[in-house]
Each structure stands twice: as C-alpha cells, then as structure tokens.
C-alpha cells in the first residue's frame, strides 16, 4: 500500500465520519444528506480499490488517472454549485413572501388594535 492510498483512505474515513456526524446532529437535512453520503461512499470505494479507478480511467482513454479524478471532482462541484444557487433562489423567494406577509399582518394588526379601522 503506497502513501497515496493511505492518504486517500484516511481522507475518506474523515469525510464519512464528519458527514455522518453532521447528519446525526441534524445539521444536514435529508435533501443534502443524500448527496454527501453518496460522495463519502464513492470516495471510500475508490480509496479501498484504487485499481478500479485506474482501470476506469484507462478504459476511458485517460492516460493519467489523477487528472480524471480532478475533472470529475470539478464537474461534481459545479453541479453542487448549481444546486445551491437554485436553493438560494428558492429561499430568497420564500423570505420575500414571508416579509410581505409580515408587513400585511402588521397593518391588519394595527388596524384591529385601533378598534375602528380607518377604511371606507
């Protein structure tokens, strides 16, 4: 076992531990837990069987397996970014709706508190 494999194994273990612990403490919701659990498992799989990744790279015509790893990693992170942008947009929209709702409720509350609302 080379130094690289040991590093890979250790980082896979750390990743899995951290993710499972975050899920266990309810810091990560179901919708994101799935992604990160899969990531952890994939990392672990290739850390334990690095030859499988190497032959996968060669069968795809990639001469240097680590560069395939970086490309896949970047692609995956890009997808995660898109997903997060989508989530942020959704959250922003909901925050706006909530703020509008609160503003309207405050007006109605003030009207009701005045007893006789001043409207026609």
């Amino acid at each position: 076992m080379t130094g690289v494999h040991i590093i890979a194994l250790v980082s896979a273990l750390v990743t899995i531990t951290v993710i499972v612990e975050l899920i266990r403490r309810r810091y990560i919701h179901e919708r994101f837990a799935v992604i990160w659990l899969l990531v952890a498992l994939v990392i672990a799989f290739f850390a334990i069987f690095p030859t499988i990744f190497n032959s996968l790279a060669h069968s795809l015509g990639v001469k240097d397996p680590p560069s395939l790893l970086s490309v896949l990693g970047v692609l995956f992170l890009l997808l995660v970014c898109v997903r997060l942008s989508w989530e942020v947009g959704r959250l922003q929209e909901r925050t706006e709706v909530l703020a509008e709702e609160v503003a309207l409720l405050r007006k109605e509350f003030e009207d009701a508190a005045e007893g006789a609302p001043t409207r026609d």
Binding site: R24, R26, H29, E30, V97, L104, L105, R119
Partner: protein
C-alpha cells in the same frame, strides 16, 4: 383593503374542566377544495364538540374558502410547507391554545371520522407522550397497494415496531391522535422532510420515552385526487423509505426537555 379572512379561528372556551379533553382535529389540505368541505361536515356530524383547524398549505384553489364555509378554522400558509410543515402549524396552534389532543385527518376523505373516537380510546393515563395510529390492515377496506410499496411498508413497520416496542403495521398512515405531551414535542420538532413526517415523528416519540400504539381503521377511497401507483414511483418510494429510515436510525432524537 379587504378582510384577511383569518378571523374565523375555532372558538376557545375560557374555562375547561380538567376531566374534559379538548380535541383539535387538524386537517392539512393542499388543493383539496373538492373534498375538504364534506370531510369537515362529516366530522362535525360525528362530534360537534371537536374544534377543527384546516391548515391550508399554500393551496392555489379555493380550499381555504371551502373549509371556512364548512365551519372550520383556517390557517393559510404563504407557500407550500408539505404535510409535516402543515402539521407543525397545527401542533403549535394546539399548544398555544391548550388543546389536550390533536387528531390528524386527511382532507381527501380517506379517513372515516367515525373512527376518531376509537383513536381517542387508545390513550392510557400515563403522563408520557402518546400517539395512536389508525392503521389499515391487509384485506380491510378496498385499499390496494403496489408490491414495492408493500415491501417498503413491511420493512418500515418491522423496524419501527421494534423501536416502539409495540406491533405496528401501518406506520405511514396519516390518521393519528396525539396527546398533550406529544403535542408539546411536535410543536417544536415535527419533522418536515418528505416521508420523514410520518416515519421520523414516530421514532422521535418512541425514543423520548413515549408510547406509540395503533388501532384498526378502514381506509376509504379518496373523494378526490388519486394515489401515485406507477411502478417507477413505487420503486422510488421504496428507496426513499429506506433512506428516511436510515437517516432516522442514525439521527440523534431532538433534545426534549
């Protein structure tokens, strides 16, 4: 400016004798204007003493108006929260207004209001959080489910039964009664993720020393809407059930004090 319409909340008796349980029926409803009215009327005809709260979960149809016209209190969420989120609204309302029991009833008419009393009879006197599930049994009613779905349900039932220390056959049933202690927990911690609302809520209660039991109930055909029945959907459902169950098992129960 028009009236918000949020004024017709269930009336609150100012003094209640301790012996008499105040029951709130919570009906989460998302675009159920066809059935919600008759469900409310039917519940009222069974027992007019029960207060009714329809949680209009961001409906785009006339669900809220139909519910109000039928005489229920209505709270409208500004956007869709999912059944779990809608139920949490119901639990918080119940907590704020001192209800002793919350009964969840679906707005599509598949739960028979005549069986609510049977759920209520499932509580015992112990001061622990309690939940009584109205469970459909194999062969009862004309409710049929896909095989993948059945496998999922069996798997779920087996592991949650072990957790609860009680034989449970239908843990995804949305026909449930909760006592005061359970209301206090769920007002804060009712899970809102898809499917987790039924599965994880049960686990939370069981793990915080609660008592989860079931009573037989016959499900009826829905008055409106139809259950998802395609093979693909059933398989996805199975996968999600396994996932939710897995998450439930590794997750720490919320800190209930």
């Amino acid at each position: 400016m028009t009236d918000s319409g949020a004024s017709s909340i269930p009336n609150e008796p100012d003094a209640v004798s301790a012996s008499k349980r105040r029951v709130l029926i919570v009906i989460p409803a998302w675009n159920e204007h066809e059935s919600v009215g008759s469900v409310i009327e039917e519940i009222r005809s069974v027992n007019p003493e029960w207060d009714l709260l329809v949680v209009d979960d961001g409906s785009t149809d006339s669900t809220a108006a139909a519910a109000r016209q039928a005489g229920a209190g209505v709270v409208s969420a500004p956007f869709n929260l999912g059944v779990g989120g809608a139920m949490r609204v119901g639990f918080r309302y119940a907590l704020n207004h001192g209800y002793d029991v919350v009964v969840q009833v679906d707005a599509d008419g598949q739960h028979n209001p005549a069986e609510i009393a049977s759920l209520l009879a499932g509580f015992d006197d112990s001061p622990v959080p309690q939940m009584v599930i109205g469970a459909r049994f194999a062969g009862s009613g004309d409710y049929d489910v896909q095989r993948a779905r059945r496998v999922a349900m069996r798997l779920l039932a087996a592991s949650l039964s072990r957790m609860a220390g009680e034989k449970l056959t239908d843990v995804t049933s949305g026909f449930r009664a909760h006592n005061r202690q359970a209301i206090a927990i769920f007002a804060r911690f009712y899970p809102t993720d898809y499917l987790a609302d039924t599965v994880e809520s049960l686990a939370i209660l069981a793990r915080s020393g609660g008592r989860v039991t079931q009573r037989p109930a016959v499900m009826r055909q829905r008055l409106a809407g139809r259950p998802s029945q395609s093979k693909w959907k059933a398989s996805v459902y199975l996968a999600r059930i396994v996932l939710v169950l897995g998450l439930t098992l590794i997750r720490r129960p919320p800190h209930v004090s």
